[in-house]
Symmetry: C2
Subunit: 432 residues, 2 copies
């Protein structure tokens, strides 16, 4: 077990250095990392082979083995990602707004890093590089805990990240690796040193973190996404989206779990989509009305709150858009929900009334992703509403501070009238 | 004891209505409230007299009685505040950014309300009107818990808020009053219905809330603010700011608690400020070096972490700007800290290195306030780093959602190359 208080203290101290390092220095570390990954790739592959062998011996399922594998192709992807990240503008030191408060008294809101961030992620070792590079780019320090199965690969990768930081004359402790569940439990206690925890994992895992730490958590809960086929849906679009949202990849959080269908369109739409689902081996669980129209398994109340992540879809008939919205707000997970319709007024009402991070009109729920949104790589998808909502990229790793620059003003002078507020909007960058 | 599950459910349901009400409707409720306060003022004053009498009978301290009083002057202030709030632009339904993701596929990030917000505030009854009006303006529903001493006044005021909502044809349950500590304890359990808790109160109270709820908390901890007198400070400015930051109002969170002085300037500066503090009845607690220069009480380690909120200041001599920054980052509460200097490079280093919501150059710490910053009224001052930092106004009561508007796009078409990402920045408002 590691000494997490000591590690967190070192991370905090590294943060104070990396947060004020120039954009060039931070990019230099990312370039150095790309170079090291290329130069030391055999070392990475060897560690990954050891992890894969151990995982095979433990009879890990094939999809998990696939995610664990880190070969030439993943390596090249990761290197390209680092190069792209270097090219992005600096997310910190941006002036977000500026106001003249009084004569010779200017207020600037300026973006800055958050501090020390703990990230707990799944078995993919490439996630370690993505997360640590996003944190370095944005001037944060990071404590990383990857999947147990990937430990050897992660040790090598984190070693390279630390070496790259040193090559750029930044503190190696900007990135540190945790190795066990006990380490995580200890980390959760360091609320005076750690500013944010980002857990990527199951819903129950995120709950565990929230219940056991005072550190703010930006988490991801279930992805119970819906597609609602409105009365005025174009039939072809309805089938395309209901199919793609379900089957294009069933095991991801932005896949649809529940299909809602307006009563008026159900008799024509349901047989069509049922045939397509049947061809794709999707099990349909329908309410009583659905059962009367197509062959299906009867749905129970618990189906509406289930994230299947599998070739299963629950289907319910609703009598109005309002009923669809109420169902989604009640049973959904506020992730991503779509309406298929030709009626702009209905689409507008749906998008404004559904209380989710993503509200879609005539497009597959599978588009809910930071890369797709053009945010660059994502650190995670937030289903909460505070700070960051939906796919969270570099911007989610920043906060802001107010820089107030005066010439000796006091509150006494405001009270006696010799300093007078002007509150004049400026549009200038903070020069300091 | 109230049924908080029932109240929270009704708040949630009210949120779904008020969140999609037009800006005009929301402003109409605020205007109606201003009218009702004026028309029903005798009822308010009478309830307040009863609260004041009960408080006097309990021997409440004079400053508390002063805060509890709600007379003609407070009423007019509150009414002017409501009128000003009506004039502010709509904080929701603003398009924050827009991108073309592919041909006929547009992404809009649009501001929207957070949902149901629980606010626990101190004895001032005018806070009830401020908080509920900010929530109505931003389309949120609110559960309000004020000070025990103000209960009768708050009951009348919350009744008027609910009446105003009804006059604007909005649900009265957009604003509901909690009456006891047990109500608060019950509210903390409703994490599926309440989106955010804003506790205004002592540090230990905020901790209690955080430790007893899964609901996200935007809180305010101590205000341990510093002024650092640099080697190159202008002597007159140094004295003005060190005095104003301490004595202009000692009982507020943005008052200075610790004064750091560069060793080179201490021999000339300290006797001067000591004389001013002495004239203002401020007790100086100094470290060993300070004790050698001016008469003072010896400071102990615990002084550096103390929020006195009183006529007491701790003073320490540092050998460099770096040492000042380290002291502030270690002992401060990340609220507001100031450097006094003529050296722009030193000011820049200070403002970038100090990890606080407000970093000031040559201006009193007393300026850390939402009204001063031009944010309109404030719901609170956040000392955390996520979502909102520093004074939190209307914007802090909003989040955003992504509206994605397509024409039938599927992820399958992305994979087979028939839908191609363009990621072209747009600058248009979401029309839906």
């Amino acid at each position: 077990m590691k000494d997490l208080h000591e590690m967190s203290s070192r991370a905090r101290s590294a943060f104070y250095t990396v947060s004020v390092a120039s954009h060039e220095k931070r990019n230099e570390a990312l370039s150095a990392l790309a170079g090291l990954l290329s130069a030391e790739k055999e070392q990475v592959f060897e560690a990954n082979r050891a992890d894969l062998e151990a995982a095979s011996a433990e009879n890990l399922a094939a999809p998990l083995l696939h995610r664990l594998a880190f070969g030439e192709e993943k390596l090249n992807q990761v290197i390209r990602g680092l190069q792209a990240l270097c090219g992005l503008p600096d997310p910190i030191n941006r002036t977000l707004c500026s106001t003249e408060l009084a004569d010779s008294l200017k207020l600037y809101r300026v973006s800055c890093p958050i501090g020390v961030i703990g990230v707990i992620f799944e078995s993919r070792p490439d996630a370690l590089i993505q997360i640590s590079s996003l944190c370095i780019k944005s001037g944060n320090a990071v404590l990383l805990k990857g999947g147990r199965e990937a430990l050897k690969t992660n040790q090598v990768l984190c070693g390279l990240v630390r070496k790259a930081l040193e090559q750029a004359e930044l503190p190696a402790d900007t990135a540190q690796l945790l190795e066990s569940r006990e380490d995580v439990a200890q980390m959760l206690k360091e609320d005076t040193l750690i500013d944010l925890i980002i857990p990527r994992g199951s819903n129950s895992f995120v709950r565990y973190i929230m219940d056991n730490s005072r550190i703010p958590v930006l988490g991801h809960s279930d992805g119970i996404c819906h597609v609602y086929i409105d009365r005025d849906a174009d039939p072809g679009t309805a089938v395309k989206i209901a199919l793609d949202s379900k089957v294009q990849n069933v095991s991801v959080c932005n896949a649809m779990e529940t299909l809602l269908v307006h009563r008026d369109i159900a008799p024509s739409f349901l047989p069509e989509i049922a045939a397509r689902y049947s061809a794709a081996n999707v099990e349909v669980r329908g309410d009583a009305e659905v059962q009367a129209l197509i062959p299906c398994v009867p749905a129970t109340e618990s189906d509406w709150s289930s994230e299947y992540l599998d070739y299963i879809v629950s289907v319910r008939i609703v009598s109005s858009l309002r009923e669809a919205v109420e169902h989604i707000n009640r049973f959904g997970s506020h992730h991503t929900d779509c309406i298929v319709t030709k009626d702009a007024a209905a689409a507008s009402e749906f998008m404004n009334s559904v209380d989710s991070a993503g509200v879609y009109w005539n497009v597959s729920t599978r588009f809910a992703d930071g890369f797709v949104y053009g945010l660059g790589a994502e650190v995670g998808i937030a289903t909460g509403k505070l700070h960051a909502r939906g796919p969270m990229g570099l911007e989610g790793l920043t906060t802001y501070k107010y820089k107030l620059i005066g010439s000796g003003q006091t509150m006494k002078e405001v009270k006696d009238g010799s300093v007078v507020y002007t509150h004049r909007p400026l549009s200038e960058n903070c020069p300091y």
